[in-house]
């Protein structure tokens, strides 16, 4: 190897190092920014809903800062990739903590949200999630530093159970789930509660992420004679595969899912197989507040962000957090936590008309009853209006 090649290699290495380190230089700040940390799945199964929430947060923060931020100080969100892996999540929480964030927002899957809850609680940093559904996130009493606004697994399940009883009486159920960690966490709770409610589960099928086979599951579900099929989990593409197979093999049993299916891409992936799919939602599309936020998101990002529940929830969540920081009047994490817990009668666009957010030392959730859960149906290739069945 001659000197020319050695020199060339050194130049390449230098150029590479420069490029990489320059990526670490941020933009100049206009005032001392308020740092909020966020972790998301950039590339794996949860990236579907992670990236929608990130886009929404970016737009909200931009608008918020243009309107003056928190007393003139801009809000800056530091995003970290959690790779949909709880171990990586814990490391990233440490990283965000060392960078001095005052609040951590979880916009990844529920599994990573649980990991953040464990770690951020230890570090005494207020944190929470706009769209993590797992029931385990809510404890009695609630974890001191954790605050969230999405539908709780318990309530969306409760609403679906009410609907099943009202519409079908005592149907035989089949449950189909994916085997991601989030999928297992959420579906295990659904299965437990459905059994407790007296439903007979005649089949339980799993779809493995990336697998090429959903026809076997569809055929076994058909053989089991279930009246209604519940599709629940954490990974949309895999469950969409099942739904397509279900319809291809002409299984007449109606399909009901969890609120995961409101995230992007489901309708495109499942195509006409999604028609008639019933699912719980935190969003009532008839509310003007929702239509306003939706309009802003579509204007900035196009139809990709139209009618996306997780994006709308992320927007509202950031609004709540920024408001709490304003009320805290300080960068101190404890004061921000106290301000969050003191949130009272805060009007919020999530949920049914007139919904307000009130936290207390015994409640860190927005939803407090299954009656606040909206059930919607996919109609004509769109997320349809709420079903009036109560």
């Amino acid at each position: 190897m001659n000197q020319g090649k050695v020199a060339g290699a050194l130049i390449c290495a230098a150029a590479l190092t420069l490029t990489l380190t320059s990526a670490a230089f941020g933009e100049p700040a206009t005032g001392k920014p308020i740092l909020i940390g966020a972790h998301l799945d950039q590339a794996k199964q949860a990236s579907y809903y992670s990236l929608l929430q990130k886009d929404s947060i970016d737009l909200f923060v931009k608008e918020f800062n243009e309107a003056g931020g928190v007393n003139g100080r801009p809000v800056q969100v530091l995003f970290e990739d959690d790779e949909n892996n709880p171990v990586t999540t814990a490391i990233k929480v440490d990283k965000l903590a060392s960078e001095g964030v005052e609040y951590i927002v979880s916009i990844g899957s529920s599994a990573t949200g649980l990991a953040t809850q464990a770690r951020a609680s230890e570090l005494k940093i207020p944190h929470g999630a706009p769209a993590n559904l797992a029931e385990q996130l809510t404890t009695d009493p609630p974890k001191r530093y954790y605050f969230r606004i999405p539908l709780r697994g318990k309530y969306e399940l409760g609403a679906v159970a009410q609907y099943l009883h009202k519409k079908y009486g005592a149907p035989k159920l089949a449950v189909v789930r994916d085997t991601t960690q989030t999928g297992l966490v959420i579906s295990d709770q659904w299965i437990n509660d459905l059994k407790k409610d007296g439903f007979n589960i005649t089949a339980l099928e799993q779809v493995t992420p990336g697998s090429t086979e959903a026809s076997s599951q569809a055929l076994r579900v058909k053989d089991s004679g279930a009246d209604v099929v519940i599709v629940v989990g954490g990974s949309i593409p895999d469950l969409a595969n099942y739904i397509k197979a279900h319809k291809l093999f002409e299984n007449p049993a109606p399909l009901i899912g969890n609120s995961l299916f409101t995230a992007g891409g489901f309708l495109k992936l499942a195509g006409i197989a999604a028609e008639g799919f019933v699912y719980p939602d935190a969003i009532d599309p008839s509310r003007t507040e929702i239509q306003e936020i939706d309009g802003k998101l579509v204007k900035a990002y196009g139809d990709r962000l139209k009618n996306q529940a997780v994006a709308l929830q992320a927007w509202e969540y950031m609004r709540v957090v920024c408001d709490a920081i304003k009320r805290a009047g300080s960068d101190d994490r404890e004061k921000i936590r106290d301000a969050m817990e003191a949130t009272k009668d805060f009007p919020i666009a999530i949920g049914p008309p007139g919904m307000t957010l009130t936290y207390s030392p015994t409640n860190h959730d927005l939803f407090t009853s299954p009656d606040q859960v909206v059930l919607r149906e996919v109609r004509n290739g769109e997320f349809g209006p709420p079903l009036r069945w109560r």
């Binding site: 290699a9 990489l20 670490a24 440490d94 060392s98 085997t179």
Partner: protein, 322 residues
Amino acid sequence: MRGINAATLPRFYPLALVGAGIVTMLPLTADAYHLTIAINLCITLILTLSLNFVVGNSGQFHLSHVAFFGTGAYVSAILAKQYHLSPWLCLFCAVPAVAMLAALIGLPITRLKGLYLAVATLAFSLFVEVLVNQGGALTGGGYGIQDVPAATMFGARLSAKSFYLLALAALIMTILIIKNLLDSKFGREIIASRDHPNAAAAAGINPAATKLLVLVIAASFAAVAGWLHTFYYLTLNPVVLSPEWTFVWFFMVLVGGLGSITGVVLGTMLLTLVPELLGFAAGQTVLVIGILMIAVTLFAPRGLAGLLHDLAKAVSSERKGR
């Protein structure tokens, strides 16, 4: 491939040693995040050094390293959590278990070479991943295993800083053991079995047995790394068994220079720190690693050690006025 070792870089060696000494003590002053990075680095180094031992020094194209790591980690976790064994005892159970697994898998494939060996070991690695994912209550399946009981010393839970020292000690022992093995008669047998198996057999060495022993030793180190991983993070996930890891470690070995201990250390450190340097572009880490893989294979196939070696030669030939 000849090893390029510290003896060929006499000028840098003492300086590097001092530098290494300072650098290894730094993490003790850092916060939780940087301590985690340092511990990760130690664990990865144990893995790449042992992989280098098998693939570089012994010429066996084994792609199942991550299976040994993962099995060591899972066995440790299961024994500690479900059978309530002391974490220290788990170490002495996990390592022999993985060693036996390596012997089991090494035996049937002694005849295979090159591509066939690579594919067979890759298939084994994928198979282990599937087994763990479908392991139900035993392995936790997709859930993984949470809340593994922590290791204690003198009654108190091992702190992160103490754990770092533990990982560092394990790493230093790994380096010393491998280096001593390579310098010994056994080391010469390893090289002979790799480069001239027929001549070696004629001289009374059993190349197949030698290679199997190398595999078992390397797998044992991987098991130790798995144990460290389990008792630091106290939670396991099947992601830890993804065969892609073997390729990443293999790349670190190659970037450093196949067969060279110093090179492997440098290569591993460089590639572990790449995601840190990337900062905001971290989402594209894998893409950058892919680009680096192509660039290194095209422009620097003998890795950093090769580059340094040539740099040293170039500098010394300049001095001699050639």
